[in-house]
Amino acid sequence: MTLAIDPAVRAITVEEVVPHAPEIVWKVLTTSELMQRWLMPNSFAPGLGARFTIADRPIGKWDGTVNCEITAWDPPHELAYTWVGGSPENVGEGAPLDTLVTWTLTPVSGGTRLRMVHNGFRSPMNDKRREAMTRGWTIIVPRIGKIAEQA
């Protein structure tokens, strides 16, 4: 699995080839009961424009409800939904979140290349400063996680 956080564009990308057909992967990504098993409790409803919620754990003033709306629905190739939550009364973890999760499924020999991009994280910096920064570097998450655990 490749997993990278790119702070310059504030996006998380996960990519992996899984030994299952795109149709199977699509089913697991878009069936409420199955989503509950790998993601979180949810009220997933299929189709473009459908709205659903995901129940995350509450943080501070946020009750943990993630509001989602499907913005791309192209079985079994592409799925995108908004991922909105948080509270303006929280700072850092638990702060307002207005993001997008996009899943792309590409058939490859022996399975599916599955790619997830979670982007739209608000940057604490303004755009000018962001542009001024050196671009194109990534931090691999397990390494950050290793350190974050001790923080």
Partner: protein, 107 residues
């Protein structure tokens, strides 16, 4: 706590970032150990360590005549906001997703 811009500017240098990763992996190390096999001169390593220390990413500890460096977890705190939280979250969920796939589509 240094702000995110300082942190990112510090880590934007690939040589410095590689050095920081070496410190993280080593747990604690002296300049000598960090220089060996790094392809960077010892004075350069010292300079980068100084920058990492200023950014709050590493701390130093004197041990006799050598100074040993270690990563300071709280230095990364500005990065561990939502994006950091979700980085760990998705790594975890991807693993779950693979188990569910394996179960419903065994080979």
């Amino acid at each position: 706590m240094p702000d995110l811009a300082v942190l990112m500017r510090t880590l934007a240098d690939p040589t410095r970032r590689a050095l920081y990763e070496r410190v993280v992996d080593a747990g604690e190390a002296a300049v000598m150990e960090l220089t060996t096999g790094s392809g960077v001169s010892q004075p350069a390593v010292s300079q980068h360590l100084k920058a990492l220390r200023t950014a709050g990413l590493v701390a130093e500890r004197r041990e006799g005549r050598t100074t040993r460096y270690r990563a300071t977890p709280q230095g990364l705190a500005p990065l561990v906001d939502w994006i950091g939280v979700y980085g760990v979250f998705w790594a975890d969920r991807f693993a779950n997703l693979k188990s569910v796939l394996k179960e419903i589509d065994p080979k």
